[in-house]
């Protein structure tokens, strides 16, 4: 029997794509499906998924939990746990449609929740940390339940299958959001598991990733010291936790995060002006175990934007383009041209260069 994610580490290659409207104008998920489908050859049908931001405006103050259940028994246990710790505002099955390519679907449920005030107070944690702890608790202790999305006004939709099929399965064209990311997976030695598909998300952070990082276990063993538990043993998972740790807990901005995880080479740092050099030396030294080596192109989604980043050698392709307020990121230019043939600007970010795209509201507030 083949072993699924969590019991063994699975390296994989992939396709990534993202579209964001900086003016926060919402648009249908149809475009992202078209974009990712062009890169069909980069996936092998063992995983596909999407993160969509701005899709739950009516519940924007609640954490939207998307959960896979193996069976109804598990669901019951999990809901008991949720009930115990959260006020559940709304719960429903996530709407899907039958698609012949998508099989073996688990129970897929969605909950809009807010931490139970007394429980939160008793925990002495901040709200977000409380949510993270709860997600880990479910994922590590309730066997057969898996929270794969836990942010506000955003959701992750993923499955085993080609991404375009996954999109149709979840009826993504019926959602409207201001930002979508998509992932087509090419794992190398597994039938794939629904939970193992990308994006991988924690709170608002979603990560899609193409590559196979060679620093995995160094990163994993390091990040696990800070309260994370890598249950999937995938690159994406560990990258997500690192980003969560650096952004949410260490309060580094995304440029600083890039200087940690895709740090410039020492020889480059040596040539920097003194202030900049000191800062880079500091970040590389203090967070040395969070340096990520090996090929990757990642797109991190967060509440108000996306960040695209390549490994420092740029061992994976990634292209960024702009048209008016829309910004596109993809593994291949074709995935952008298919939805927007005429672009204002297109470029290939250098290895280790974080491309940070923020919505205008967010930019203004800064």
């Amino acid at each position: 029997m083949l072993i699924k994610e969590g019991s063994i580490r699975i390296p994989s290659g992939c396709a990534v794509s993202a579209i964001i409207d900086r003016s926060k104008k919402r648009f249908s998920g149809e475009a992202i499906i078209r974009s990712i489908s062009v890169m069909h050859e980069r996936s092998n049908g063992l995983g596909g998924g999407f993160a969509a931001y701005g899709i739950y405006p009516e519940y924007k103050d609640y954490y939207a939990f998307h959960i896979f259940y193996e069976n109804a028994e598990v669901k019951k246990n999990c809901e008991l746990f949720l009930d115990d710790n959260f006020d559940i505002i709304n719960l429903s099955k996530i709407p899907t449609q039958k698609v012949s390519e998508i099989v073996d679907e688990p129970l897929i449920w969605r909950y809009f929740v807010i931490p139970h005030p007394t429980k939160l107070k008793a925990s002495q944690l901040d709200e977000r940390e409380f949510v993270v702890k709860a997600v880990f608790k479910i994922n590590t202790t309730i066997k057969g339940a898996y929270v794969f999305s836990s942010g506000k006004n955003m959701g992750v939709f993923k499955a085993v299958g080609f991404p375009e099929d996954v999109g149709r399965f979840y009826k993504l064209d019926e959602y409207e959001g201001h930002c979508f990311t998509a992932h087509g997976r090419y794992p190398t030695n597994t039938p794939g598991w629904w939970g193992g598909a990308h994006p991988f998300a924690l709170l608002d952070y979603s990560v899609i990733h193409n590559g196979e990082i060679s620093s995995y276990d160094a990163n994993r063993r390091s990040i696990e010291m800070y309260g994370y538990k890598c249950t999937l043993l995938t690159d994406t998972e560990v990258i997500t936790y690192i980003i969560d740790y650096l952004h949410r807990k260490m309060e580094l901005d995304f440029n600083e995060i890039a200087a940690v995880i895709a740090a410039p080479f020492w020889q480059t740092i040596a040539r920097m002006p003194e202030d900049e050099r000191k800062e880079h030396e500091y970040l590389r030294n203090v967070f040395s175990s969070l340096l990520i080596t090996g090929p990757f192109s990642i797109i991190v989604g967060f509440q108000d934007g996306v960040v695209a980043l390549n490994d420092r050698l740029k061992l994976r392709s990634m292209v960024v383009a702009e048209k008016d307020d829309l910004v596109y990121v993809a593994s291949e230019e074709s995935a952008i041209r298919i939805i927007e043939p005429t672009l204002d600007k297109i470029w290939y970010p250098k290895g280790g260069e974080a491309v940070i795209i923020k919505t205008k509201e967010e930019s203004k507030s800064k």
């Binding site: 190398t188 196979e212 995995y216 276990d217 160094a218 010291m225 260490m250 080479f265 080596t293 090929p295």
Partner: protein, 499 residues
Amino acid sequence: MNYIYPEYEVVRNYARCIVCRACENQCANCVHRYIESENRMESKDDDCVNCHRCVTICPTRALKIIKSDHTFRYNSNWTGKTINEIFKQAESGGVLLSSMGNPENYPVYFDKILINASQVTNPSIDPLREPMETRVFLGSKVHKIKRDSNGKIDTSTAPQLDLSVPIMFSAMSYGSISYNAHESLAKAAEKLGIYYNTGEGGLHEDFYKYSKNTIVQVASGRFGVHKSYLDTAAAIEIKMGQGAKPGIGGHLPGAKIVGAVSRTRMIPEGSDAISPAPHHDIYSIEDLRQLVFSLKEATDYKKPVIVKIAAVHNVTAIASGVARSGADIIAIDGFRGGTGAAPTKIRDNVGIPIELALASVDKRLRDEGIRDRVSLIVGGSIRSSTDIIKAIALGADCVYIGSAALIAMGCHLCRSCQSGKCNWGIATQIPNLVKRLNPSIAYQRLVNLVTAWNHEMREMLGGMGINSIESLKGNRLMLRGVGLTDKELEILGIFHAGE
């Protein structure tokens, strides 16, 4: 009557011997002798320590040393070695003494661990074409971002050691090794951008110029410790134990306390230098904390403090305690570590393998969430670039090499340091022998060794798809065990090959 039959025989090929007498000139044990009346050389096997000096310099390759096939009646319980040891002790009434590392047949875990490489899904990296970084900082790395009012990050850290490659020369005192050996290590450390360690013998005034590459040691004897000794160093190491002889102190005989050695140690000429087994001001972990902070106080908190411990059974708990004692760096010395002299029985039976000690300490510190508070240096028979790769993947930040450095300089592991008559000019204070080690050669050989290892490490890193050494640290998925039990794999925290 001498019960002991010579262990080695000098074999001279008389058809090749040109009677140049270089062997005679170079043997401090006077094994070779010129017979004038016959114009030929003769050897006295009894005094041969098998150091290969004569063999190496013989211009015609006329010499070799073989193990004597003289034997006792077969007995796998009472071996010849055991019988001879009893003979020796019955004769002398003394403790058996030995030098260098434990030579006995215990498992070498490094040799049962294999390294990964990239194929297809992840490109290997060619270190000749892409940067391959081996720079390492040692010191406490507390994750806490402080910013000024402009949002600029405060970049100050606890004091760090900055190494071009994660290799340092481990503590070997001036006294146990020669002036020239010390100079070679110091020069090589400077050239390589790494550090060497004074050991517990103080720092000769000539070597203050290498201070930025010098780690000074504070050991139980406190020899040669004074204000400027501490001030000049890049880091200070408190020696709590040594892998070759955990639990006991040191003893440098008065015969070696001559001239500059005596001055440097700050003890009278000819007096035995006795390092007590414990530090008599450290009887528990809180005492260690006091010493750590005394040293930090004395040096203005500008230098990292290393605490060196021997790998013993409860090394994890000890390391955890040390990590919480204020030390910036922990050095763990495995049971194969070298020594200038140790009681044979202790050297060969006390302590645990460094691989297991490292794996469990690294895990314990991570479990406790304090791994970043300290850096880990491991030593005790690091023999090759692959040992280093494996050690780092198991969780070390850096390694100490001692024996390997000595071998690079010419040591042939004859394990007779205690005699003080090192034919290679390393473990001796006899001027005529000391001059045999020309630092300009020895230093270059050290530089070559580390450079070569660095090349190999870069190749292996590149093979794993890693281009910076920090991504290897603790990256145990890069390792697989072969022929190890489940328990061993569990302690090492690695999978078996094939898994």
